[in-house]
């Protein structure tokens, strides 16, 4: 059962990582324009270099 000592922290860390990632996406306004963002990826306008 000593494997639990590794597995539980690992599962908590993974879950916590996902939570942190979600918090980051909310804070950086990534849900403001879901429709526009899903379309923008189809545009080839800034394919060569990032938008300044």
């Amino acid at each position: 059962m000593s494997v639990l000592a590794y597995l539980i922290p690992i599962s908590l860390l993974l879950g916590g990582g996902a939570l942190a990632a979600f918090v980051y996406t909310v804070r950086s306004n990534q849900y403001d324009d879901p429709e526009g963002d899903s379309r923008r990826i189809l545009s080839d306008e800034w394919d060569d270099q990032p938008k300044p």
Binding site: V26, S28, N29, D33
Partner: protein
């Protein structure tokens, strides 16, 4: 939106530096917002952004496709009026939006807050559920205790953070000595956590950490759905308000200065161009024109206006430029005085208790009494405090209004989404429930059943020569009647004849020279004709014959006839109440097959009529757009106004029709009925689960596994039942 929230992005140091720079340069920048109703694809985004960024003075432009808006940062001298033609050249319709009105939508903090709490609750409940599953499937002794302790370590901070909305709500209710749905929730959460911790410290079998967290998660999901529905409606309503940018042209020493309406003062001279709306109450100083008062009074006949005529805010100037001396501004205008009438109507409105509230009223005391009885009963039976407390906690958790919390929001979200697609905006949270009970529908005429644009009736009684002269005269004017005449004559294949010296006499009509004779088209009084009850423009061909009238009627709004027919078919009583003349109202009532109508009604009459209908036990739906309807809209059980209505009318109504078409009204009633049926069904499902699970809990057979199963399955059933509405 992006620019405003930037400082919060502390994750990337470069961005913080960039944003401080932007703040420092802010005073030299103007922020503009444009509504772009026709954009729909990635090509549109690039086209608009490229077009706007190429315009001199623009620093950056970003399109938001979800909201169909462009946000622009530019030099202060760049105005939205300059950009609209740029976009029109690219093939996009654009309207300016008032950023101050939109500000509320932009900082959507409450929504983010709820979403964040929902995420924390979801994360914590998943982890704790994993640990609990291993406990249920047989972990024992030290392992079980360790799992319980880890669960406690996750559950306590998570519930304290995620459950904050419930704690504050419950506290504010308890402070004034009332019970709401949140009080049993909080009690269940606290009791579950405390007894579980106690059990864990005594290495007991049962801990309810997972139940406390799933409870928080499901309830927050309900809250979030509820919030989203209302936020969508609110932001769309705000966008409608923001489309009316309140500006006026003030005359300062013979120069025209564009100023916000809020800056106007008593005695200011204000220029109102043809087609413009009066921003203030006042007296005409110079100029002659005609005024359209239909939004205020419902009359379709334009009124002659000359120096000395009193005007009220909201009237539309039709032909000539007018200079108005302001006599009442802002709060004192007749527009705002109408608000008093609305306040009176509001106080008379029977307070509607939503289904959820009436359920909570029955439910909250019931739960407390039940769990208190279970506690006292078991304590007296066994004198074991630990066991009695455990059972009381189990009863509270199982009865907790998980499904009840989802029952209403899930249904209203589904129904509002469906109606939004049909072009209806549900502004009020209980509007759907109220709409379901409606048995009488009252329509306003001008601007609601009719579009307010005139249509020529009697083209065929004129000779071709007369029509050619009339068309030549009408083309020289932008008056709505002239435009209607032009359109009708053009479709009939008439070409204008050669009329010279064409000149428009604002407020009177147009005149010109034709074969040495003076020909005139205009108001009855100007030509010496007798103005009947119907809207008409008169033609004098200069041959000495009496002038003859072109008669107009108001064009029906698309879907008006269908909506009335469908409402009749659904067994609802349809009434027409208008401020317009008897003849006009009677004519329309006959065209639409409405038996009961009332003409020349003052705003007070409308509200009173609706009040008396409600007193007789009818549930009245009012559909109106004018300022004269606002009191009636407020007095009615539920109200709908078209998007073209004045701001005041839209604010007073519960539902806004976004499109031109009236037909969705009948469908909305059907959807509302279905939605209310689903809500009741959901309540029944939730009750059924309780009826099965509560005796188990009271008898002491409830384990955390049973609690988790009962809670999740009832919540999921309720949500699925709500989705059937789609």
């Amino acid at each position: 939106m992006t620019a405003q929230m930037r400082p919060a992005m502390a994750v990337c140091p470069g961005c913080v530096a960039a944003s401080t720079e932007a703040v420092e340069t802010a005073p030299t920048e103007a922020r503009l917002a444009l509504s772009l109703p026709t954009i729909h694809c990635q090509a549109c985004i690039s086209k608009v952004e490229r077009g706007l960024n190429a315009h001199p003075g623009i620093h950056s432009a970003r399109v938001n496709l979800t909201l169909k808006r462009a946000l622009i940062e530019a030099d202060p001298e760049v105005r939205a009026d300059d950009l609209i033609p740029v976009l029109a050249d690219l093939g996009f319709e654009a309207h300016e939006l008032d950023l101050a009105t939109l500000a509320a939508t932009q900082s959507d903090r409450a929504g983010r807050d709820l979403l964040m709490r929902l995420a924390v609750a979801g994360f914590a409940s998943m982890n704790v559920m994993l640990l609990s599953v291993s406990v249920w499937s047989g972990a024992s002794d030290a392992t079980r205790d360790m799992f319980h302790w880890i669960s406690a370590a996750i559950a306590f901070p998570a519930v304290i953070f995620a459950g904050k909305p419930f704690f504050t709500n419950a506290w504010s209710a308890l402070r004034v000595g009332r019970l709401n749905m949140d009080v049993p929730i909080v009690l269940a959460l606290v009791l579950a956590l405390v007894t579980s911790l106690w059990e864990t410290s005594l290495s007991g079998d049962h801990a309810y950490f997972d139940a406390a967290l799933t409870l928080t998660f499901f309830l927050l999901a309900g809250r979030y759905l509820d919030y989203r529905t209302r936020a969508v409606a609110r932001s769309a309503a705000e966008e409608l308000a923001a489309l009316e940018v309140p500006r006026a042209i003030r005359m300062e020493d013979d120069t025209e200065v564009e100023v916000p309406v809020a800056d106007l003062a008593y005695g200011d001279l204000i220029l109102v161009r043809p087609g413009g709306r009066m921003p203030v109450d006042g007296v005409i100083a110079t100029g002659e024109s005609e005024l359209d008062r239909s939004l205020l009074t419902g009359e379709t006949l334009p009124v002659f206006a000359a120096p000395g005529t009193q005007v009220s805010a909201g009237e539309v100037n039709l032909t000539g430029p007018l200079v108005v001396r302001a006599e009442a501004v802002g709060e004192d205008t007749s527009l705002h005085r109408m608000a008093d009438l609305v306040a009176i109507a509001e106080s008379g409105r029977s307070r509607y208790t939503s289904l959820a509230d009436s359920a909570a009223k029955l439910y909250a005391p019931g739960v407390h009494i039940l769990s208190a009885l279970a506690f006292v009963g078991w304590y007296l039976y066994t004198f074991d405090l630990r066991m009695a407390l455990n059972i009381a906690a189990a009863v509270l958790i199982i009865t907790c209004p998980c499904a009840l919390g989802l029952a209403v929001p899930a249904v209203t979200t589904a129904a509002s989404g469906r109606l939004f697609k049909k072009g209806m905006l549900i502004k009020h949270s209980t509007a759907l429930e109220r709409l379901a009970g409606v048995d009488t529908v009252v329509f306003d005429k001008t601007g609601t059943l009719t579009t307010g644009t005139p249509q020529l009736e009697n083209l065929e009684v004129f000779t071709r020569a007369e029509l050619e002269i009339a068309l030549a005269l009408a083309e020289g004017s932008s008056h709505p009647l002239s435009r209607a005449l032009t359109a009708a004559a053009r479709t009939a294949g008439i070409a204008p004849t050669d009329v010279t010296d064409l000149q428009e006499r604002p407020g009177f009509g147009t005149q010109g020279q034709y074969m040495g004779r003076t020909v005139r088209l205009g108001r009855a009084a100007w030509l010496g004709a007798d103005q009947g009850s119907q809207t008409a423009a008169w033609l004098d061909t200069g041959e000495g014959a009496a002038p003859r009238g072109f008669l107009f009627h108001d064009a029906l709004r698309p879907g008006a006839a269908e909506a009335v027919a469908q409402l009749h078919a659904a067994g609802k009583e349809v009434l027409l109440i208008s401020g317009d003349t008897t003849a006009a109202v009677e004519d329309l009532a006959q065209r639409l097959g409405i038996q009961k109508w009332l003409a020349e009604a003052l705003p007070e009459d409308k509200a009173e009529r609706i009040q008396s209908l409600s007193d007789r036990g009818h549930k009245v739906l009012m559909v109106g757009d004018g300022l004269n309807d606002t009191a009636a809209l407020t007095a009615a059980h539920v109200s709908i106004s078209p998007a073209s209505a004045l701001d005041a009318a839209r604010v007073a109504s519960d539902i806004v029709l976004l499109g031109q078409d009236l037909e969705p009204i009948a469908e909305a009633c059907i959807v509302a009925n279905k939605a209310t049926k689903r809500i009741r069904e959901n309540f029944r499902i939730a009750t059924l689960y309780n009826v099965i699970a509560v005796p188990l809990a009271i008898a002491g057979f409830a384990t955390p596994l049973i609690a988790a199963l009962a809670m999740s399955s009832s919540s999921i059933t309720v949500s699925l039942n709500a989705l059937r509405l789609k």
